[in-house]
């Protein structure tokens, strides 16, 4: 049982919140002390000539130790381990209604907070405070310039709708005793070697790589409104990648991705070897794969492919609801740096098949013993995490909010998350896609496959498609065609979706009873827990990408 202290100050900070409310911080913590003292000094004295003072400031210090091991064909190819401690400064000038955020001075520079990637690893108060001071000064000057450019941009346009950049919220404090974990590097070096050696048995697999990455530590946060936290910060992954060629030279890939946060949840070597075997067998089984010309009909997205489907069509379009402006220049005519998710404008409308519900649950750590990496208790703006009912019976009810307001919502829902270099924006954590209880459209996966064949038969198709792995909806993919006459499967490759739209979400005809955990590649860790899905109709075409020449010489190991 970890010790924790939670303080919630219920009174709203009176605008403009310029005075630091004074969070009660853990004693004898030099990092917090340096953050607190420099924050107080900056809010009190930081002012250049007659220009504006900061109205808000937050610091985040993330620290820990990282380990990375990469292996191929039974041998380690790279290994690193290093401690790290980084500082992130989010400083705002102007007012909560209109400040320096949500604006990128240009496409190249982007919309980033100030950072120092290597501050003192030791708890040396003077050194830490010096680094915080230097980064704050840079952040302040940058904020003043960005704010004036953003103002000029606004004044040059006829912008009628303006939403607050920083909505109020009660100060919140949470302090967890975060334990820095390490993985046994000798053991894992051997594990990763062993997993990568699985491919020694499969001549069809031409290239393969297995990568372990693990970091574990904590994040400290403090802002000028009195919010503060110390929370665990960890992420681990084992990625298996294998590549082969179809008979026509088209590159094929297969693999597996396992994610975790706590060392105890790291996948066992046996499981990893099993996953490597699966990938190798899948590629080996594609030695008779062919390319088909075109297909219009039902598609079954199994397991991770379904996760990727929901990631691309649903979750990405409920995130980052605030538009980020930029000023066009000689190199780019873009006036928008980041567009809001496409579903944000469809609140209260039907966006998904009516038998499906979607929630986001940051407090969940596991699903059927599988780790969920979107777990957190407090977001990157110091707002407590909240479960969201995003879609109910197919209708959009909510979307991800940070402290930046939108037309629909004027407060954060605890989903203000950010990659270390970015401003926080509305982001997902653990997304659950669940069917309505008792829905007739939920079938065991085997029956869902049968249903796919039934639908094909109704449509007088010779075969239909099952997708089991998908790198990217927009990229060429491989699949299996399952024949109506006898249900046998044949591998196909070199396909691309065409004419896809958000309509696909409403075309989900049935789902599997079994749920799968998929780990999307977001800028912040998260998971999608979804069933496999049968989409009533999708259009597929032959990709324009060209096959490669297969290797001239045989693989040296298999040529022996």
């Amino acid at each position: 049982m970890k010790k924790s202290v939670i303080y919630t100050i219920l009174t709203l900070c009176a605008l403009p919140c310029a005075l630091w409310a004074g969070a009660v911080l853990p004693e004898n913590d030099n990092v917090f002390k340096a953050m607190k003292d420099e924050l107080a000094r900056s809010m009190d004295k930081l002012r250049m000539d007659s220009l504006a003072k900061p109205y808000f400031l937050d610091y985040q210090v993330v620290e820990g130790r990282s380990l990375g091991i990469t292996a191929g064909f039974g041998a380690v190819e790279s290994e690193y381990t290093a401690p790290y401690r980084r500082l992130r400064v989010n400083l705002r000038v102007g007012s909560p209604a209109f400040d320096n955020s949500n604006y990128a001075p240009n496409m190249w520079e982007g919309c980033r907070v100030e950072m120092d990637w290597s501050v003192a690893l030791e708890d040396n108060y003077d050194s830490l405070r010096y680094s915080i001071w230097a980064a704050t000064d840079k952040a302040y000057k940058k904020a003043l310039e960005t704010h004036s450019k953003k103002k000029a941009y606004k004044e040059s346009k006829n912008i009628t709708e303006l939403f607050d950049d920083m909505t109020p919220r009660p100060p919140y404090q949470l302090f967890r005793d975060a334990e820095q974990e390490t993985l046994d590097s000798d053991l894992w070096r051997e594990n990763i070697r062993k997993v990568s050696a699985v491919f020694l048995k499969y001549p069809a697999v031409k290239y393969s790589t297995v990568r372990l990455n693990f970091r574990s530590g904590d994040a400290r946060f403090l802002d000028s409104e009195g919010s503060a936290f110390k929370r665990p910060d960890c992420l681990g992954s084992v990625i298996i990648e294998a590549k082969a060629y179809a008979p026509d030279g088209f590159p094929l890939s297969a693999g597996d991705e396992q994610y975790f946060c706590l060392a105890k949840d790291a996948p066992g070597v046996d499981k990893l070897m099993e996953k490597a075997e699966e990938a190798a067998k899948r590629l080996s089984g594609m030695d008779r794969s062919v390319q088909i010309k075109a297909y219009i009909g039902p598609v079954l997205f199994e397991k991770d492919a379904a996760g990727k489907f929901f990631d691309y069509f649903l979750v990405a379009n409920l995130s980052n609801p605030r538009e980020v402006w930029t000023t066009p220049n000689n190199w780019s005519s873009e006036a928008v740096y980041r567009r809001p998710g496409a579903l944000v404008e469809r609140l209260d409308m039907r966006v998904l098949s009516p038998f499906l519900n979607v929630t986001d649950e940051p407090s969940e750590r596991y699903f059927e013993d599988k780790p969920l990496i979107g777990y957190y208790e407090v977001d990157d703006e110091g707002v407590p995490a909240r479960k969201l009912n995003l879609v109910g019976k197919g209708k959009l009810l909510d979307y991800y909010m940070s402290r930046a307001a939108t037309r629909d919502f004027k407060k954060s829902n605890g989903h203000g998350r950010a990659d270390f270099s970015d401003y926080a924006s509305g982001s997902p954590s653990n997304v659950f896609i669940r069917p309505e209880a008792g829905s007739a459209k939920v079938l065991p996966l085997e029956k869902l496959r049968k249903k796919l064949i039934d639908v094909c038969r109704e449509q007088e198709l010779e075969y239909c498609l099952i997708i089991r792995g998908l790198d990217n909806i927009r990229a060429p993919f491989a699949a299996y065609r399952v024949y109506v006459k006898d249900g046998h499967e044949e591998p196909v490759h070199g396909l691309e979706f065409t004419g896809t739209s958000l309509r696909a979400l409403r075309d989900i005809a049935a789902v599997s009873k079994e749920m799968n955990v998929y780990y999307p590649h977001w800028s912040t860790p998260g998971s999608i827990i979804s069933p496999s899905i049968l989409v009533a109709e999708m259009e597929v075409k032959k990709t324009d990408s060209k096959p490669e020449k297969i290797p001239y010489l045989p693989h040296p190991y298999f040529a022996k």
Partner: protein, 562 residues
């Protein structure tokens, strides 16, 4: 010292021991086996035959320690092995690396990416990756040669019809360079002590101390029969401190100490004294007046003179630049002509490991094309005598002199190593200073400039811009003719054109010193050294340097805001 003794011991055991080591070396075995298999297998796999194949594996063990304001802020280590492939099809006279006119010269090379290999001694795994990368390099080479062939047919004849590749004698050599484990506790303590020294000074806005230790062993095998393993240790202790003036000019001072072993690094007392001196220099710079654009007599102190030679002539004497169509070819047709003062002799010799007891970073035994390092005579008594040569021949220079270099992932070109500037006639430095004042008086100039330290510089050798160079001074003094004390000034860069500038060298001092640095060009970053005495030039041009528009920090550093 430990490493040298070990190496001597290895040699004394005779070639049998070395051959035995080589035979059990998994990397060497994987490279050799895959080279033999690929060379045979690819030779006539397509209509255009493979005529040359070489592999270079760079094995690097790096450890980095950094400290800021009395506390360690970086502590990391990394081991890697990277493969470079030089694969050539058709004939040495015209191959796939030949420049496609209209494209940049390096786009024709067969491989320009980092290709990681196993760091384990696992021959099967090493061979699997070598096979994977060679296949890609071969396909790229065939594709490039098709372009080269057509381009050659439809474009004008080149001025220099030299072949694309020169033969080289097969070399066999085997050594493994090692470095004793760093005493991390000791060095963490030292670095913290050094970096804490900056905390007392309010005008230092950024500072840091670091120690980098890299052991680099390189394997080179080629289809001509070369089988080489050789290496270097690079240890660098450095500190830097920076400030900014109210007019937005960034100022910095710093020092770097290089060695091939920890014992070669300076004592704690010496580093602390240098830090104190640098702090005083930074203060002087902060209070210094800005100098207006000027041309007149100037002294380049020894280390600054080394950088000056590196920038203004070194890059222009890199052999490949004499035939690449987009290059300025400033000195291509000046062979045996006088280009500078007849007291000046310049050569580049990678074989020099130490100069007056101090390590030179440009030292190596074999270059990145497996050619034995050799002294390249560049200027003799003011007369241009030669170029730095890789295996890309040029008119009158058909062979390499062991200067083909690169960093992993980049194609090899000819580069500098240890650029040695010597003067046949020298005076003491005080005498040189006296000569500066006399020359100023002769030219009716109230003062001359002394360039004490230089950060580095850059030069344009291409035809797309003026044939000019720029050298970035860090510490400049005004020396007055009327006897006033020397005055630190700031805000100027040295500019010029090479032919005009070289002709202005008038005298040299007897104080040669080393500039150890890392040089960047199209073949990547390579460690280099330049050794030169202080030089007096009758005329040097300086122009206003670029400055940031930022103001100094709004608040005082926390320790000084009482």
């Amino acid at each position: 010292m430990f490493k040298i003794l070990l190496f001597v011991a290895g040699l004394s055991m005779g070639p049998a021991v070395l051959a035995a080591d080589m035979k059990t070396d998994a990397v060497m075995n994987a490279l050799t086996k895959e080279l033999d298999r690929s060379f045979t297998g690819f030779k006539n796999a397509e209509k255009t035959p493979l005529y040359y194949l070489s592999y270079e594996v760079t094995e690097s063990r790096t450890y980095y320690l950094g400290s800021k304001m009395g506390a360690i802020n970086s502590d990391s280590g990394h081991t890697s092995r990277k493969l470079d492939i030089d694969l050539r099809v058709n004939t040495p006279g015209l191959d796939n690396t030949h420049q496609v006119k209209g494209d940049y010269s390096w786009t024709s090379r067969s491989q320009t990416l980092n290709l990681p290999l196993a760091v384990d001694e696992n021959e099967d795994a090493l061979r699997a990756r070598i096979w994977e990368y060679t296949d890609k390099a071969y396909k790229k080479a065939q594709e490039n040669f098709t372009k080269v062939n057509m381009n050659k047919a439809v474009t004008a004849q080149e001025d220099d019809p030299s072949p694309d590749f020169s033969p080289s004698k097969p070399e066999v050599f085997y050594e493994t360079v090692t470095l004793p484990e760093m005493d991390k506790k000791l060095w963490r303590g030292k670095l913290d002590k050094f970096s804490a020294r900056f905390a007392d000074t309010p005008f230092i806005y950024d500072s840091g101390v670091s120690l980098t230790a890299e052991t680099k062993n390189r394997y080179l095998v080629n289809s001509e029969g070369s089988r080489i393993k050789t290496g270097n240790n690079y240890i660098r202790l450095s500190f830097s401190l920076a400030s900014r003036t109210t007019d937005g000019m960034d100022l910095s001072r710093g020092e770097q100490y290089d060695g091939a072993s920890y014992a070669e690094l300076p004592s704690e007392e010496k580093v602390l004294a240098d830090i104190d001196r640098s702090i005083a220099e930074l203060k002087a710079l902060k209070d210094a007046p800005i100098v207006d654009p000027y041309h007149g007599p100037a002294i380049l102190k020894a280390r600054a003179a080394g950088v000056y030679f590196h920038e203004i002539i070194g890059h222009r004497l890199e052999g490949h630049r004499q035939k690449i169509e987009e290059e300025g070819q400033t000195f291509a047709k000046k062979l045996n002509q006088k280009i500078t003062s007849d007291i000046i002799t310049v050569y580049d010799d990678p074989n020099i490991k130490y100069f007056r007891g101090r390590a030179l970073r440009g030292y190596y035994r074999y270059d990145d094309e497996g050619v034995k390092a050799a002294r390249a005579s560049l200027i003799e008594n003011g007369v241009l005598k030669g170029f730095l040569m890789s295996r890309s021949p040029i008119r009158d220079f058909p062979a390499s002199n062991g200067h083909g270099r690169h960093s992993t992932g980049r194609p090899v070109v000819s580069r500098m190593a240890n650029t040695m500037v010597e003067a046949s006639k020298t005076v003491s430095y005080p005498e040189l200073r006296k000569q500066l004042i006399e020359e100023c008086k002769k030219q009716n100039k109230p003062f001359g400039l002394v360039f004490d330290d230089i950060a580095g510089g850059f030069t344009n050798t291409g035809r797309w811009g003026p044939q000019s160079f720029k050298v970035l001074p860090l510490l400049v003094y005004r020396v007055y003719t009327d006897g006033r004390p020397d005055e630190v000034v700031r805000g100027v860069d040295i500019v010029g054109t090479p032919i005009a500038s070289l002709s202005k060298i008038m005298a040299a001092a007897d104080d040669p010193d080393i500039f150890n640095g890392t040089c960047g060009a199209e073949s990547g970053w390579v460690p280099v050294s330049a050794v030169s005495p202080s030089l007096l030039l009758t005329e040097m041009e300086v122009e206003k340097s670029q400055k940031s528009q930022e103001k100094p920090p709004v608040l005082e550093p926390p320790l000084h805001d009482k």
